[in-house]
Every structure is written in C-alpha cells, then in structure tokens.
Symmetry: C2
Subunit: 325 residues, 2 copies
C-alpha cells in the first residue's frame, strides 16, 4: 500500500497559505527557475465539452522545479453555464505529489483559492519589478475576485494611498470600494471611464475576461506601469495592440503561452523584445531603467506557479498542524 | 461553495467494481463510442522527472464520451526507483467529474485498481471478438498483476480449460499457478519457452514490459489469436514485426496511440489495414472470418476506458451505498 495522503479543504488552506513576503518570495523564485531553465513544464492538457446546454473546459497544468520536494498537477474547470444552476463557474483541485516517489502527498480541494493566490502574487512580482518606486494612484479595472486579490497583492510591494476602480456595474463597484477600503486602508474612488483611470494612475491592473481592448494607447503617459492579467485564452484581450507597441518595456510570464493566450497574441513582438518575468526576478535582464518609462506585463498563469504555491501551502499546512498538535 | 465530493479507497472500489458482464459491456460501449466519433479524447499530458536518483513519469489521461454523466481525469505515475524505498512503482488516482458542471464528484484513490480492471476488460473485449469460439489452451506470457487479471478476464468470455504460463522466474511462476488454479479452476502448467507456449495455445496474452520481441513469427499457427497488452511506451515491444505482418487480422485500441506506444510503432502497417477495437464492437468492421485465421490485438490503454470505468465504479459504489444505508 502506498503512503496515505491528506485532503485539505479551502478553509484550512486559506488559513495557512496567504499573501505574504514568504509566498511572494516563493513565486519570485519559481519565475527565476523558469527563466534559468530549471523547470520542466509541458504544455497544458485541454478538454472542451460542448453540448446543447453545456459549455465547459478542463485544463490540467503541471510543472516540476528541479530540486523541489514536490510538484502539482492542477485540474481546473470552467463551465460557463453553471450560474443557471446556482453553481460557481470555476472548480477543480490540486494534487501535490512527491518528486522522489510520485506518490500523492496531498489533495487541495481549494475551489481555486491557490490559483487566485498565485495569480495575485504574480501581479505583486510584476509590480515590484516594474512599477515606479513611488506609486501615487493605483487603477484597478474590474471589480471581481482578482480585482480584490491584485490590490491586496500590490500592497505587499508598494505603499497604496489612492485607488481608482472601474467597473461597468455600479453596485458591484460600490461593494468593491466598501470592502477594499477596509482591507487595504486606502482612499478608493470610482473612475467613470477607463481612460480617466489610466490617465490618473501610475500602476494599472486589468482583471477582466474582456474580448475587446479596454486600454487605449492614447491614454498612456510617462511613468505608467500596466499589468494585464485578464486574458488567458484565444480571442481575449484588454489592451490595444498599440499599448504594447508603444511601451518601453514589455514583460510576460511565459512568452510561448502569452503568444497563444495573452495580450501578445494580438501583437507581432519578437521574442527578443519581450522580457519574461523570471528574467527580471533572476537579474538576467533589466526592467524599466527610470521612472518615466512605460511598462506592460502580460500574465496568463503558469504551471510553475501552481507547483510553487502547492509546495508552499503544503509546508504551511504542515507547520500549522505541528503547532496545534 | 461547490458540491462536496466523495473519496473512495481501493478497498471500497474493488468491492464494488469488478470483472463482470456489466463492466465488460461498459468497456465495449466505450470502444464503440470511440470508433463512432462520440468521444473527445485529447492526447495524454506527460511529465518526465529525471534526476540523480529519480526516474519518474506522470501521465494524465482524460476523455469525454458524449452523453455520459461524468468523465475521468486520471493521474498515473511510474517512478522506477521506488522499489529501493520499498514503495510500489505505480501510483496515482482518478478524479471523476460531472459532465454538466465540471464539479469533482468523486476521487478514486484506487492505487491503480481501476486501471488494472479496465485494462483486463479490454483484453476480454479483444478475446470475445477475436479468439476462436472454442479455445482449448490459453497461453499467458508473464506472471505479474496483469497476467492474473487477463486470465480472469478471458474467463468472462471463453471457457478456460487449460492454461500455459511462461515466466522467467520459476518461483513467481509457481506462485501464479497455485493462485490462478483456484481463481479460474483450470489446469495450469508452466511452459518452458515462449515458443512452446505459442505453439500449444489458441489464445495468447502477453503482459510484460519487454523491450525485445518475445513472440516469433515462426511459432504462429492457424487459429491463433494474440493480445499484446504489455507495450505502452516508446521502445517497448513483445511481438516480432513479422507477427503483425503475417497476421490475417490486426486490431488495436487506438491507432494513433499504438503507433507511438504499442506494437504498431515497430511496423509500417497503414491505417486502412488495422482495425480499431471499437470498429469491431460497434459492428463497423469484421474481425476474423473463420477459426483458421491468425489475429493480433495491440492494446495500449486509452482515456476513454478510464472515463467509462470511472462512471461504472461511481454508479456501483453509489448503489452499494444505498443498499447499506
């Protein structure tokens, strides 16, 4: 009989694995390992189910970081007609396996919590390495779950004083403002247009599932950094192609993946002119060279983040287990 | 919160999901669905970990059979240095997801039990459709787990009277004979060579991880059927290429997959001259037309079998749950 495995639910996981300097460092290291060629990361497996009343997709991601104790196999689902049934669109779980033996060590039934966490941390890594040192105003486009996570993640790496938020739904935007004002203790106001938000912010994060460009090149200004994390599939986009063309610095999490799934799919930027996030975290390449440049970071979410956050969560959960027993 | 899921262990699963006419019919239907184009089955995801003291691989298979209530995502591992640690080489588990919502309904922590079962059932399907109606002697090459499963599976579809078994290890072969004599109540004897076994059998199943041909064309004879289920990876093989070339009927579970992983990788047989198992079960094509022909079936194991057996197991477990509560 193989060794038994532990099942952790979202409550336990979210209590142990949090936005912190420690989890930030782990995601930074994961990106560095990727850039340094110390990661084996096959292309994700995708299954699409399209029936009369079903429009679903399943994605399986995995990656092994050389020298790490474990790695994740993440099964993530998106079933876009679930709302009709009163169910969340996204689901799935993460298996955490021992790198030496292949045995399943833990099952994280996290309802996507660790994906949210590692996605937010990638935003923090981007802001840390690309935003101007002094950020006066943060602009958040979108009012959903990642709109919340990304703002909290930025607070790990920059002092957040003023925030502008743009949402198409007024009630959702007000709810966002009430909730986040307490969470990050900043002055948060609603922007009437995305243009206004971009013009008045030094650091903008776009968090929507948009299929048309929300940010126009005409609103770019000196010293602006934009992280676009919404696009994660063919035909999705949040930025005009000109935004990437006119930026001084273009960064992404994985060039190959962003070409298929991210903002890069709408541009013709060659590999050499795009920096991978891990090239910044490892010091292989430089990001912005002054606070007047314009930078953009395109994030699609990678298997190496899943493996890194799973290892972090497992160690954090084990530590809590030890404390309490 | 999404609906909760059930975790089933090997003991529960093996008590509910068994070799039976019902499970055989389910695997036959799965192959028929595949041949009829009613299955979405992406190529498996593979991750290989090769370190100083580690030689491991992870494979993720999935498939959706149109109209079915659920589908499997199976994570299977093979870590070939585990024996040194006193651990089994193979591990993994199956997630069973709802086809309408993508929610995980059940986790089968089965230690490979359902893979063994669906693999054995594919052997039974092959024997049912390809072996001569009257089998005097069954020959089993290998004395491992599938050598046991395959013999029991054949007993579902043919009367088993005499069995010859070939194993390189005498003690393991004796243990096989003692155990299986009770299990299938047949006369089981040891073959000294594979040649002798093939010459004296009407139905041969090869179940080894061999990398060289065990069965030679010179031993083929009228009325013989061979199922080769050992090869499931590049460079593996159990049959001489001439065995396939000289057979009257060549069948496989999935042509594309067998070209990469099975006996077909060592031949140049065009698609048109190879029958897929589902083309037999669905009646689209004919297998042997008389009891004098020689037939061969190449099995590598497919995601559609995993989804079919997972659905069967889930229903069987739920039925037992109802009975006992």
């Amino acid at each position: 009989m193989p060794a038994s495995f532990r099942v952790f639910d979202e409550g336990e996981i979210s209590a142990a694995a949090t936005l912190s300097a420690a989890s930030l460092a782990i995601i930074e290291h994961a990106f560095s390992a990727l850039a340094e060629g110390r990661v084996i990361m096959p292309a994700p497996l995708g299954l699409h189910i399209k029936e009369d009343k079903v429009d679903g997709e399943v994605h399986v991601k995995t990656a092994y970081i050389r020298g790490s104790k474990g790695f994740a196999v993440k099964v993530a689902t998106g079933f876009y007609q679930n709302a009709r049934l009163g169910l969340p669109t996204s689901s799935g779980m993460i298996l955490y396996l021992d790198s030496q033996t292949g045995q399943v060590v833990a099952l994280f039934a996290d309802n996507g919590y660790l994906t949210d966490l590692r996605t937010a941390l990638a935003g923090a890594v981007a802001a840390k390495h690309l935003a101007p040192m002094r950020v006066r105003t943060v602009g958040i486009v979108g009012t959903g779950i990642q709109a919340r996570w990304q703002l909290r993640a930025i607070a790990l790496v920059r002092k957040v004083r003023q925030v502008l938020v743009f949402g198409r739904n007024a009630a959702a935007t007000e709810a966002y403002i009430r909730e986040m004002q307490i969470m990050v203790s900043a002055d948060i106001r609603r922007a009437v247009t995305v243009s206004e938000l971009v013009r008045q912010s030094d650091l903008v994060v776009t968090t929507t599932p948009s299929r048309e460009a929300l940010i126009k090149a005409q609103d770019l200004h000196a010293g602006l950094h934009i992280t676009a994390m919404g696009s994660d599939g063919p035909a999705k986009r949040e930025l005009e192609s000109n935004v990437l063309d006119q930026a001084d610095v273009v960064v992404c999490d994985s060039y190959d993946q962003c070409l298929r799934l991210g903002e890069l799919q709408h541009t013709a930027l060659p590999r050499a002119s795009v920096i991978e996030l891990g090239e910044l975290t490892s010091g292989m390449r430089e990001g912005r060279s002054n606070d007047h440049q314009i930078s953009v970071c395109d994030l699609t979410g990678t298997g190496v983040q899943d493996s890194a956050i799973a290892e972090y969560a497992f160690l954090a959960l084990r530590q809590r287990g030890t404390k309490h027993s």
